[in-house]
């Protein structure tokens, strides 16, 4: 056991190009820690839970999610996450993974949006079902290249609208997303800030999400991450799985297209 752990650490450190490149020593230390943790990621527990939920008959309609179309046809989960956000004709909008899962929970299982949006983020007592479901679906694209499509006119509109939202400065502190994520090599306190306008850094908006966050020990999705960004941006609150958030996720994911998604991750 001990030997395996030591081997794991040696392997992780040897494997770590990211840490070696990081100038900031605190960030480098955390990268090392994350590499070790990722070999035994608690996110896997939520992945298993999500798979159970996917197959279980639930909700007022007593149906499973196995007929949910994530973009590659009803019931196809493998590779679907790597090709989202995308346009869905039945909803006539671009949806990110969580928006699509919530849509399926409403249409197939009969859940109400108001119930799902009431407390959509994990806390000490509860991990909402969509969080586990997102983790399961995302895990089925592990190792695949991101390919969020830009074929439908509404997918291209979502990209451009997302880009405009990303750069829109307003609120009490005059912040936009770009205030923190529009330039290279900056950090808030000791937290490095990736520049999401650049393809090679935009992958950091996708990689590691959904993620098991060591602060608080909770599983979180990108819906939570964006919600908390807007709190810190001193904006009002964005609606859960709203088009605004799908547009923002389209902007950063398309910027990261072609790069490999490594599966649910570990976050500080």
């Amino acid at each position: 056991m001990k030997q395996a752990l030591v081997l794991g650490i040696v392997a992780a450190v040897a494997w770590l190009p990211a840490a070696a490149q990081t100038a900031d020593p605190t960030a480098a230390e955390f990268d090392k820690f994350r590499a070790i943790m990722e070999q035994d990621n608690p996110a896997e527990l939520f992945e298993v839970k999500g798979e159970e939920l996917w197959r279980a008959r639930r909700g007022p309609k007593n149906a499973s999610l196995e007929q949910c179309d994530l973009g590659l046809g009803a019931g196809v989960v493998k590779g679907a996450y790597a090709q989202m956000p995308r346009y869905f004709a039945d909803a006539d909008r671009v949806m990110d993974v969580e928006a699509r899962i919530v849509h399926c929970m409403m249409t197939l299982q009969g859940f109400k949006y108001e119930e799902l949006a009431k407390q959509p983020f994990s806390n000490e007592t509860r991990t909402p079902e969509p969080v586990s479901l997102v983790t399961y679906v995302a895990a089925q694209s592990r190792g695949m290249k991101l390919a969020s499509p830009q074929n439908h006119p509404k997918e291209r509109d979502a990209y451009e609208t997302g880009k405009a939202i990303f750069h829109y400065r307003a609120g009490a502190f005059d912040f936009s997303c770009a205030s923190c994520h529009g330039v290279d090599d900056k950090r808030i306190r000791t937290q490095p800030l990736p520049n999401f306008t650049k393809p090679e850094q935009a992958i950091l908006a996708v990689r590691g999400w959904p993620g098991y966050r060591m602060t608080g020990g909770l599983m979180h999705t990108l819906q939570w991450r964006l919600n908390d960004c807007y709190r810190q941006q001193r904006f009002p609150e964005p609606g859960y799985v709203s088009e605004t958030l799908s547009a923002l996720l389209t902007y950063v994911t398309v910027n990261a297209n072609g790069q490999v998604y490594r599966g649910p991750g570990i976050k500080r």
Binding site: D157, T161, A164, A170, P199, F235, P236, E237, A256
Partner: protein
């Protein structure tokens, strides 16, 4: 807009066919979508989605407004600075250090007048190694620039309204939006200006 498209092209040649430069300004779409999707929470009302004149000039120009536009608005912002009535611009640097450390203020669950979030973006005192790099280092602020009244006024004014000096600065306008009280801004000015402050050691 064209820049990101170029980046896109480089990243994914497959997109080449579909990646044409956008034919219109998407900001009205973006704002309409946000107004549909957001709701007020705590201290953050929906009015915060609306641009004021400074934000509008910066949004319109990708933070690079024409010189004459910037000069005019900077002058307006400067004229709106309320200088302390007693003429004293500095307070207690120790209180200033606590305000600089405090990252709360103006978010959903915050009250006004909590913290200045200074360390989020700036190196300030030498005793704190957890500092951000979005703004320049303020270590030895007065030691490098001098302790005179002109530098005091610059420090206080910049904290009050950074946009009076550089229209599209990323720094919040702490006095202008009442995120900090006059006393808190005096204490922060002392943190930067007091010869006894650790900042100037």
């Amino acid at each position: 807009m064209r820049l990101a498209c170029a980046g896109l092209l480089a990243a994914a040649a497959a997109l080449l066919a579909s990646c044409a430069a956008p034919t219109r300004d998407y900001q009205p779409d973006a704002l309409a979508m946000m107004k549909r999707d957001f709701h007020a929470r705590g201290s953050a009302g929906m009015d915060r989605l609306n641009e004021d004149s400074v934000q509008a000039a910066c949004n319109k120009s990708q933070d690079n407004p024409p010189q004459e536009v910037a000069a005019k608005l900077e002058k307006e912002q400067f004229a709106a600075i309320k200088w302390p009535a007693d003429g004293k611009l500095t307070g207690d640097w120790k209180a200033g250090e606590r305000i600089a450390q405090n990252g709360r203020g103006m978010a959903w669950n915050d009250k006004a007048g909590e913290g200045g979030s200074c360390y989020n973006c700036h190196q300030v005192g030498p005793g704190e190694s957890s500092f951000g790099t979005v703004g320049p280092s303020l270590y030895q602020f007065a030691k490098k620039r001098g302790y005179g009244m002109d530098i005091q006024r610059y420090a206080y004014g910049k904290i009050y309204n950074a946009k009076a000096y550089n229209l599209c600065s990323q720094m919040p306008r702490f006095g202008h939006v009442k995120a900090l009280t006059e006393q808190q801004m005096k204490d922060l000015t002392a943190l930067l200006m007091d010869p006894a402050s650790p900042v100037n050691q």
